[in-house]
């Protein structure tokens, strides 16, 4: 009678059953923090548990600096110093320091690459897009610094069991449609608070047919609908991904056939076309076709939701042998993905060659301009007149820099097609 989310929370609360609305204390499997929220979390931890306190379980703490990395900003660099100091003092094995071989880049992609996203588990992070890891059939969500500090000291936290909204995509999607289009469609339909407090479960053949990266694009953006967590039943695709990433044991959990849902929405995948979120909200929905020919000044391919290797393969397929007409920024989420830009080839040309030949610029693995950041951040929209099309997940005013600049969110296919024409372009023109 339970959904995956309910089952995972029940198990971690030591109960045989929970219902939506119950408040439960759960044991935490992984706590992740980064350079923005890590330092204040550490501050609260020390204040509450004492200067000499130890974290509850150093195998379960993962610290991934990723936000403000390649900058001269002194406060940003001070944050990294605090993380480094803490990792050393606590002897933390899972710290991915800047300027070392271990440096990874964006936390939400680094977590799966390093094997920390496992079916049936509970993962918290001090970042709202921690929900990404739900693609692996686990409970994952973002929390504030006080909660994170509490977990650091105790390994526990309270949660209200969410109701689950079911989203089913029947049949496989069109070849020119990507997971990003599906989630933009949903957010546009239910609004930026359409899933507040709730779990969003994605199911159906359209979802099953996605690889792990496509699935992560779906769960990454549940927070843009206010969702608490996104979740997808683990299957062969999940297990296969994890095979090379971890040898840690895990227990997959599935939805009961008679599980109760808050609501069920069924989409015919074949009805879904390339989608956009117009400025300045992720639910400001439109099809790409409706906005075609809108002039652009910039294109951006990157972030935890749109800077994965599959995103660059998709973009490169379209961009190959064509020059881009607007400034185009390519930012791999992680260092592993950055290496992929070199090693993955299409018709004998590496992705990197394809992008550079087209005139795009490639940045270093990090969040970069996804959240604006200091003025010297790669790809940041410093100019009020910029009109950017981006594979990122948020387009609130000022999110990528200037409050006046306009940002359209779209799939890597759409961003690539638009970069070539210098205006919003339906990727179907290239298929």
């Amino acid at each position: 009678m339970m959904t995956i989310t309910e089952k995972i929370l029940a198990k971690h609360a030591g109960k045989s059953k929970v219902e939506p609305g119950d408040n439960v204390w759960v044991d935490v499997d992984i706590l992740m923090t980064h350079d923005v929220c890590g330092p204040p979390t550490i501050g609260i931890f020390k204040k509450q548990f004492g200067q000499n306190a130890k974290v509850w379980d150093k195998e379960k703490v993962v610290i991934i600096p990723d936000h403000y990395i390649f900058t001269k900003d002194k406060y940003a660099n001070r944050n990294i110093d605090i993380l480094r100091e803490f990792a050393k003092e606590q002897d933390l094995p899972h710290y991915y320091d800047v300027g070392t071989e271990r440096y990874k880049g964006v936390c939400h992609m680094a977590l799966p690459e390093e094997g920390f996203t496992r079916p049936g588990e509970i993962l918290f992070g001090t970042d709202s897009h921690t929900c990404t890891a739900g693609a692996f059939g686990e409970f994952a969500t973002g929390i504030g610094n006080t909660d994170a500090a509490f977990i650091l000291g105790t390994g526990k936290i309270w949660l209200r069991v969410p109701e689950t909204m079911q989203f089913i995509f029947e049949d496989e999607i069109h070849p020119y449609v990507m997971a990003k289009d599906l989630i933009l469609k949903i957010i546009g339909d239910i609004g930026v608070d359409g899933a507040t407090y709730r779990a969003m479960n994605f199911a159906g053949d359209g979802v099953k047919a996605l690889d792990m990266e496509g699935r992560m694009t779906l769960t990454n953006m549940v927070i843009e609908a206010g969702g608490k967590n996104g979740i997808i039943e683990p299957d062969e695709v999940t297990f296969k991904y994890l095979e090379t990433r971890t040898d840690h044991a895990y227990e997959p959990v599935l939805n009961d056939f008679d599980a109760k849902y808050h609501s069920v929405r069924v989409y015919k995948s074949k009805d879904i076309e390339p989608m956009l979120a117009k400025p300045h909200s992720p639910d400001n929905k439109s099809t790409v076709f409706e906005m075609r020919n809108t002039q652009l000044t910039r294109a951006y391919i990157g972030s935890c939701t749109g800077g994965k290797i599959s995103d660059f393969i998709a973009a490169a397929r379209i961009i190959k042998d064509k020059p881009v007409k607007v400034d185009t920024f390519v930012v791999p989420a992680t260092t592993e993905i950055a290496q992929g830009l070199d090693s993955v080839k299409i018709d004998g040309k590496s992705l990197k060659e394809i992008f550079l030949n087209a005139g795009a610029q490639i940045g270093e693995a990090s969040c970069a301009a996804c959240l604006g950041g200091p003025a010297d951040t790669f790809g940041r929209l410093n100019n009020d007149e910029e009109i950017c099309i981006s594979t990122t997940n948020r387009n609130f005013p000022g999110r990528m820099g200037s409050k006046q600049a306009q940002v359209y969110l779209a799939s890597p296919y759409t961003v690539a097609a638009s970069a070539i024409n210098g205006k919003i372009t339906d990727p179907r023109d290239f298929f």
Binding site: S128, G144, T146, G226
Partner: protein, 186 residues
């Protein structure tokens, strides 16, 4: 929890995000230093567009010019209060300004958790959208035991959703105090 929260109300609309509560440029002040901390009270809700500030008429500053504390103890808002970035400076700023409770039809969940677990303020949920029912400067009285709110200016009363099991943490004044009282930590 003292039993009754009584004071003037400040009314806001929907989707009040954490940037409106405390614009990013003011995040530089230390929350530890009492002299610097005051500035969060001064700039609380300063990012709300003037026409939306203090409904229904608008154009009312939340914290008066030259002051570090607001005259308003209670905020009433519509849905999705506290959306946007998960920064804890947002509920902290409201608390520093003197806010004790917020009544909204729904909250962004990270803001809700931060408010309760940090012991900053009490986030009450209401089924009825009180932002359409009360006016800025009305005097409200919230009974913490019954979750009932009375508008002393108009004489009307409304039932808020009970806090449920979160009330234990609210009563204790935050998650750390709660955990100490319950033997979960030293």
């Amino acid at each position: 929890m003292s039993g009754m929260i009584k004071g003037k109300v400040f009314v806001l609309g929907e989707n009040i995000d954490t940037d409106q509560m405390i614009p990013a440029e003011h995040l530089v002040y230390s929350l530890e230093d009492p002299e610097e901390k005051k500035f969060y009270g001064k700039f609380a809700l300063s990012g709300v567009p003037a026409t939306e500030s203090g409904l229904p008429q608008g154009q009312i500053p939340f914290t008066a010019e030259g002051k570090f504390e607001s005259d308003y103890k209670i905020i009433v808002a519509s849905n999705n209060f506290g959306c946007g970035s998960s920064r804890e400076h947002a509920p902290a700023a409201l608390q520093i300004a003197g806010v004790q409770a917020v009544i909204a039809t729904s909250y962004a969940r990270i803001f809700y958790r931060n408010s309760v677990d940090g012991g900053f303020l009490i986030p009450y949920e209401s089924k009825v959208d009180l932002s359409k029912e009360v006016s800025t400067n009305d005097k409200l009285e919230i009974n913490e035991e019954t979750s009932e709110v009375k508008n002393l200016t108009t004489g009307k009363t409304y039932q808020l959703n009970p806090l449920g099991s979160v009330s234990e943490i609210v009563k204790a004044g935050g998650i750390f105090k709660y955990a100490r009282e319950n033997g979960m930590m030293q």
